[in-house]
């Protein structure tokens, strides 16, 4: 029996090799999938959803001024301790509202239940906001839980640097720079 089946099996084996070769040869003549990076770039539609490091969102009135109320919830929730918020107490001012209007709300689902800022019931003045991006794990807890809607993810895909300092951001400065260059306006959340 084997003497009959063996040649058939051998021929089938050789045929399977031919079939495999046909696949690679067809693929050889198909267009390439690669994007030649410096000359071509990934279409923007594929980058919009990319979550880069977080950035501050400006207020509607003054894009250079962050909505942040300095409560420090983001820094407290951060699993890798990569945020540093410095704020000082303000005298109570009923005209300052820390309810966000849009911004991060549209990016993130907004439950009815919202954690109050941990210690302060009233807003504080934001002095500086630092992000150490090289320890960030992009979990999104800060953005999700910001009571003022002052945080969102940037879409900076091509971030690269040769030194550690390149990944330590002063986000307030960045926000001012964005406002000066007419970058993404505070009112627009680009999800």
């Amino acid at each position: 029996m084997a003497i009959l089946t063996a040649p058939v099996q051998a021929l089938a084996a050789v045929w399977s090799m031919v079939v495999g070769l046909r696949v690679t040869i067809t693929n050889f003549f198909k267009p390439q999938e690669t994007i030649h990076y410096p000359r071509q770039e990934v279409p923007p539609s594929h980058l919009d959803s990319f979550r880069g490091h977080i950035e501050l969102v400006g207020t509607d009135e003054d894009p250079a001024k962050a909505r942040c109320i300095g409560c420090g919830l983001c820094a407290e929730l951060c699993p890798s301790f990569c945020l540093k918020v410095v704020a000082e107490d303000l005298p109570a001012d009923p005209t300052v509202s820390y309810e966000s209007h849009n911004g991060a709300d549209q990016l993130m689902p907004r439950p009815k239940f919202k954690a109050p800022p941990p210690s302060q019931a009233q807003p504080r003045k934001l002095l500086s906001y630092h992000l150490v991006y090289h320890t960030c794990s992009l979990c999104g807890l800060c953005v999700q839980n910001c009571p003022a809607g002052s945080l969102r993810f940037s879409h900076d895909v091509y971030l690269a640097g040769a030194s550690r300092g390149r990944f330590e951001f002063d986000l307030m400065e960045r926000l001012r720079g964005q406002a000066a260059h007419g970058g993404p306006k505070g009112g627009k959340a680009h999800a």
Binding site: G20, L21, V23, T24, F28, F29, Q32, T34
Partner: protein, 329 residues
């Protein structure tokens, strides 16, 4: 001694010298060309560009690679036998030009006319095993040693059916002279030996891939099993020479296949060296495509394939050929 007297004394020697020099150039050029072709084929098969940055479409990549390899440090591993370790790449490369001298690229384009051309090539091809063996042993690396053991048993096994399949053709033509063998075939494909001896061609082709340690038979190298087998410890040009020898060996087996089975420089319309080169490169490209298509066979399967299929088939083929020649003659 002037040129004319030299020519008078040893025209054959002069031809040999010039031929050898030209062949070394040919091998080096081909090494670079095949390196480029291999990487381009790999790239396009995998739907990516392959080398692209150096020169237009990466044409100069091979030069950049060669420059890089030459510039790298040659490290001898601790505890390695330095003499054997560095003799191995040289031994892999040095016999290669000698194999080319008997190959008839065209009617009058060859290095050496000898009626034992086939024997010469096959005997020098055996050196490659020795080189891999030394490389594996001299490296003082267990993976290299395993690779060397594989290389030796593989080469020893596959040389036999290779020889047998070649013999069948030699029997048909009654000669071992490659020029005569090539010349005895006609210009059209149905006049080639492959039409008469398809089985011998198939066996030869499989054995040739195995002899040159190309995937799917690259067991001596087997980077996913033996890290890189015999090449593991070689850096810079040590590795580079092995590569060069591998490509040169591919061309040699391609050339022999062309001369024996595909009509050599004979071809439709206008016979000449271009036909020879075209057929040879076609075969080499096929080998390259195979490398990027198939998984690697296992070691015992490789030997099984040889001893259980190729050997008996080659023997039967040889016997049938002998019988046919006897009856017809």
């Amino acid at each position: 001694m002037n040129g004319s007297s030299l020519a008078a004394v040893a025209p054959e020697l002069l031809r040999l010298g010039v031929g050898l020099l030209a062949l070394v150039g040919f091998i080096a050029a081909n090494g670079m060309l095949l390196l480029y072709v291999e990487r381009k084929v790999a790239g396009h098969v995998q739907r990516r560009p392959g080398p692209f940055e150096v020169g237009p479409h990466g044409l100069l990549q091979a030069f950049a690679d060669a420059g890089k390899l030459v510039g790298k440090q040659l490290a001898t591993p601790a505890g390695a036998d330095g003499l054997l370790f560095w003799a191995a790449p040289l031994m892999a490369f040095m016999p290669v030009p000698l194999m080319f001298i008997a190959i008839p690229f065209g009617e009058n384009l060859f290095g050496l006319q000898t009626n034992l051309g086939l024997v010469l090539i096959l005997s020098f091809a055996g050196f490659n095993v020795l080189a891999l063996c030394l490389a594996g042993w001299g490296s003082n690396n267990k993976w290299s040693l395993l690779g060397a053991a594989r290389a030796v048993s593989q080469a020893v096994a596959y040389e036999i059916p290779l020889l047998l399949s070649v013999l069948a053709v030699a029997l048909m033509c009654g000669s071992l002279d490659l020029r005569q063998l090539a010349g005895s075939q006609g210009g059209w494909p149905w006049q080639w030996n492959v039409a008469v001896q398809p089985l011998a061609f198939f066996i030869y082709f499989v054995c040739a891939v195995a002899e040159t340690n190309r995937a799917p038979f690259d067991l001596a190298e087997a980077e996913s099993e033996l890290t890189a087998g015999v090449h593991t410890e070689y850096s810079g040009m040590g590795n580079g020479i092995f590569f060069l020898a591998e490509y040169a060996n591919m061309i040699v087996v391609g050339c022999v296949a062309t001369a024996l089975f595909l009509g050599g420089s004979q071809g439709p319309f206008a016979p000449g060296p271009w036909w020879f080169l075209a057929k040879m490169y076609l075969l080499v490209t096929l080998v390259i495509f195979m490398r990027w298509t198939y998984p690697r066979v296992r070691f015992d399967q490789l030997l099984n394939l040889n001893w259980r299929w190729l050997m008996p088939l080659a023997l039967v083929n040889l016997l049938a050929t002998a019988l046919a020649v006897k009856l017809a003659g």
